[in-house]
């Protein structure tokens, strides 16, 4: 089967590089970049663009005692020894592990029926990030949503109308899309999903459950 990957857009990489994305999207992008070197290298291009623009900014005058203050704070201390961030050897890359407080076994899942489980890992007024657990061979409840939705596969794989997505793959959907992802047989599927609009599930069971589980 032809594996289709939706490359992360310039727009999202630029938003991440400039620090303008909602936190939930930052988390999904950082997690994706931990699994995708090509996208990570593209990010470096957008950060370089930020550097070139910083260089080109008109200077804002700094306070007279500014440098002295900073030197006083440094207080003659030597720069810190470099620490290389440990690479995660679990299912969750480091940025996700830090938010969850551990790997997939540390997640406090809530069952939403038919073996499907979910856990909100970040929620604010701008966007929500949640984990979704779909048993091998099962369907995720059909849903639509009102904004942008980013889905990153962390374990297993799923397919929908647009293609098949495996670990590290990212699917971007907009509010025009109605989709019914089905997990591959063989391995339970775990995804990290960020949405900037509330998910609307269409099956009656999920619709009834929705107000209670806060999806």
């Amino acid at each position: 089967m032809n594996i289709q990957t939706n490359q992360i857009s310039d727009e999202l990489l630029m938003g991440y590089a400039s620090g303008a994305l909602p936190q939930a999207f930052d988390l999904v992008v950082a997690t994706h970049l931990s699994l995708n070197q090509a996208a990570h290298m593209r990010l470096q291009g957008f950060e370089a663009l930020g550097g070139a623009m910083l260089e080109g900014l008109d200077e804002a005058p700094v306070a007279d005692e500014s440098l002295e203050n900073v030197l006083a704070r440094i207080n003659g201390d030597a720069p810190e020894a470099p620490v290389l961030a440990a690479r995660s050897d679990g299912i969750f890359p480091t940025p996700l592990k830090q938010v969850v407080g551990g790997d997939s076994d540390a997640v406090l899942w809530r069952s939403i029926g038919m073996g499907v489980k979910t856990a909100v890992v970040h929620d604010d007024e701008h966007a929500t990030a949640r984990l979704l657990y779909i048993p091998a061979g099962s369907e995720m409840p059909m849903h639509s949503h009102s904004g942008l939705e980013m889905t990153l596969v962390l374990q297993g794989a799923y397919s929908d109308d647009d293609g098949r997505y495996a670990r590290g793959d990212l699917e971007i959907a907009t509010d025009q899309d109605d989709h019914t992802p089905v997990a591959d047989a063989g391995e339970d599927c775990i995804c990290l999903i960020a949405t900037d609009g509330k998910l609307k599930f269409k099956s009656w069971l999920a619709r009834i459950a929705q107000p209670f589980i806060g999806i």
Partner: protein
């Protein structure tokens, strides 16, 4: 007064002097050049003068402390400073620690499509020139996307341009940058 522009190699040497010899005069030079730009960056992102001053001092302190983390193979000095300032901006103005991706591993790496990588870190001066060569409208849009802390729809609302126009102009600007870099 016209100052001779310092080369990238010069700034890299300054950061190394801080990292290896705790060279305060190298730090003072880095400070004189970058502190006013970092402060301007923070003010463009909505900080008032005194907050920007305080926050800039945090950024400059971090540069000293993290000098050993700087890797010239990955980023120009300006890019490194930009990322430190951006992270501080998120901490301070948006009140959360930015999630960082894992470091790229060493060793053989799959090459992304050449056209996709706007620029590698070593080519910063070329990038600055390519940026300057962009038509005004396109450069301003990129500046807003980076420094205004605004989403594309907010840019649309502020400029009165339709969202589709913003997106296609940005795409055009990026294509032209990529073209100028090759």
């Amino acid at each position: 007064m016209t100052l001779v522009e310092k080369s990238e190699a010069h700034w890299v040497a300054m950061v190394h002097a801080i990292a290896e010899k705790q060279d305060k005069s190298a730090f003072a030079e880095l400070f004189r050049h970058f502190a006013p730009r970092v402060k301007a960056f923070l003010m463009k992102n909505g900080a008032d003068e005194s907050l920007a001053e305080e926050c800039m001092q945090d950024v400059m302190t971090t540069l000293w402390r993290k000098a050993q983390m700087y890797d010239p193979a990955r980023a120009s000095v300006a890019t490194w400073i930009f990322t430190v300032a951006r992270n501080r901006k998120i901490d301070l103005l948006r009140k959360y620690a930015r999630p960082e991706p894992e470091e790229l591993p060493w060793g053989p790496e799959p090459e992304p499509e050449a056209a996709e990588v706007i620029i590698l870190a070593q080519e910063s001066s070329k990038l600055a020139a390519a940026l300057k060569a962009l038509p005004d409208k396109q450069r301003k849009l990129i500046e807003r996307a980076y420094f205004g802390d605004m989403t594309h729809s907010e840019i649309a609302a502020e400029t009165g341009l339709p969202l589709g126009t913003i997106k296609s102009r940005l795409r055009l600007a990026l294509d032209r940058l990529r073209h100028n870099m090759t």
